[in-house]
């Protein structure tokens, strides 16, 4: 996940105290928040100016009030929880299943023969098209929603695992074998750790995909969840609800992606990429 860096803090003058450093950091945080605040102000001003109707663009303040009332009524918590449950369950299944499948494909020629064409043809396909088929088979409840998330999120994990394992330094494997490592020791102590940065990248691609698909299937099938609430509001021409949904979904997406990249930094602290200037 590429992150817009380039706005890293400038070097501090030598000998500054902790107070000035905190001030400096606060200044940077404000400089970074300014464009977002400006966008919010522009939204409010445009909505107030009367060039658009409140149906086309409700005022930001009204949308925030709407989010607050939704939160107070408990709807927001319920819908966010349901969406997160579907996205994260699907993501977890895809992560575990994808890594296992990738490992099996790289170790066993028969498994590779069977799955290689399926993965290479299935990856670039728009899997969301199969939604009506999955609905036909599994109904409209959580099972089919989570199945759709898994179907979409598993491909990046499998391909990342495959290329991660293929890229493990041969010398590492040879030395480990030479020192008498068994097959399972080789897998758990050498191959998987060495491949983990790439597997992590695959997971970082899969997580936003899982969330996109979770919101989409809620929009298409209804039931609770942020996507369903948004489409429901839209059907009743309640554009405050629609815009509240956008803000809520954007916040959830931002938090998830940030949490994932923090986790990567934690988990891969031992890897040399942690020393390099981070673009992730």
């Amino acid at each position: 996940m590429a992150r817009i860096a380039g706005t890293t803090a400038e070097p501090l003058p030598a000998g500054t105290g902790a107070g000035r450093r905190a001030l400096h950091a606060a200044g940077w945080a404000m400089a970074r928040a300014a464009p977002i605040l400006l966008l919010g102000l522009a939204w409010e001003a445009l909505a107030m100016s009367g060039t658009l109707t409140f149906y086309q663009l409700p005022r930001l303040s009204a949308v925030l009030v709407r989010i607050w009332t939704d939160a107070a009524a408990g709807d927001l918590l319920l819908n966010t929880g349901v969406t997160l449950y579907r996205a994260l369950t699907g993501f977890a299944i895809a992560a575990v299943g994808g890594v296992i499948l990738g490992m099996a494909m790289s170790r066993n020629a028969a498994v590779r023969w069977l799955f290689d064409p399926i993965v290479s043809v299935g990856f670039p396909m728009p899997k969301i098209t199969f939604l009506p088929v999955v609905m036909l088979w599994l109904g409209v409840y959580d099972v089919s929603k989570i199945a759709m998330v898994v179907l979409d999120a598993i491909f990046p994990v499998v391909t990342a695992t495959l290329s991660g394992i293929a890229g493990v330094d041969r010398h590492l494997i040879w030395s480990a074998r030479n020192m008498g490592a068994s097959r399972s020791e080789l897998l758990w102590q050498i191959v998987l750790p060495a491949a983990s940065p790439q597997i992590m990248t695959g997971l970082q691609v899969a997580l936003p995909v899982a969330l996109i698909v979770a919101v989409l299937v809620e929009m298409l099938m209804g039931g609770y969840g942020l996507g369903a609430a948004m489409v429901h509001a839209w059907r009743f021409a309640d554009s405050h609800g629609v815009f509240a949904g956008i803000v809520e979904i954007a916040v959830v997406g931002y938090v998830l992606v940030k949490a994932m990249s923090l986790m990567r930094r934690r988990l891969l602290l031992w890897h040399q990429e942690a020393l390099a200037p981070s673009t992730v």
């Binding site: 064409p117 979770a214 929009m219 942020l226 489409v231």
Partner: protein
């Protein structure tokens, strides 16, 4: 020969599909036989249903993606080239990039209604940021020594931008466009399933509601194949465009 061996699993899958449906292992309602799906496909091709809906989907996807590529690339390179642009837009890009793009479907429908406009806007907005980030990272990573040499040999800023920065941004930008291409298909089909009067996604929903599942499977497979083919063609094109590198 090796291609046959390689793709044999897919043929086996197709054969298993046909057999499972023919022998009644799976209800033919849930899984119409592959041969019936093929017949339905030919029938729809002949009646023109597939072509007209396909054309309107293709127009929406193509127009939205083209806009996203042009605007996204321009934004990304501008952000890498002028610091003030980066300071102004960087935080916004970082905030909106992780947003699940599907959330925009109802909003674009509120703005532009049920027709082509809302889909084109949706695909434009949804696909722009991957292109922007690719172009930004690519342009930012251009070799500083090359920029300096070009400058010292008397190239103007715009000339450096065009002759040095653009080519070195190309590989990452093309990767970003590949992500955008996949996203465009997802957004196109799902927005047509939710709000549209025509298009392949709409056709799938319509046939599914009608219970004509053999035709629905035919359209589903068509869209899946189009997505796959678009990616393969794009990869070939990308190889062409980057042939000058080593």
């Amino acid at each position: 020969m090796s291609a046959v061996v390689r793709y044999l699993p897919l043929l086996l899958l197709a054969a298993a599909w046909e057999v499972a449906s023919r022998l009644g292992i799976v209800s033919s309602l849930a899984l119409p036989a592959l041969s019936e799906v093929a017949l339905a496909w030919v029938e729809m091709l002949r009646s023109g249903e597939l072509v007209t809906n396909g054309a309107s989907s293709l127009w929406r996807g193509g127009a939205g993606l083209a806009l996203a590529i042009v605007v996204g690339a321009a934004l990304g390179i501008a952000m890498a080239w002028w610091r003030p642009v980066n300071a102004a837009l960087g935080p916004l890009v970082e905030m909106f990039y992780p947003m699940p793009k599907s959330a925009l479907i109802p909003v674009t429908a509120v703005w532009l209604g049920f027709g082509d406009g809302s889909k084109i806007l949706l695909i434009f907005l949804g696909c722009m940021l991957p292109v922007t980030i690719g172009a930004f990272n690519g342009a930012r990573g251009s070799d500083q020594a090359l920029v300096w040499s070009a400058r010292s040999m008397g190239a103007g800023r715009l000339k450096v931008l065009w002759d040095v920065v653009m080519p070195s941004a190309l590989p990452e930008m093309l990767n970003g466009i590949r992500t955008a291409l996949a996203l465009a298909f997802i957004l196109l089909v799902s927005s047509e399933l939710i709000v549209a009067r025509d298009g392949l996604g709409n056709l799938i929903g319509y046939l599914g509601n009608n219970g004509t599942y053999d035709a629905m499977f035919a359209v589903v497979l068509t869209v899946a194949f189009l997505g796959f083919a678009a990616d393969r063609v794009y990869q070939a094109l990308m190889g062409r465009l980057l042939a000058w590198r080593e």
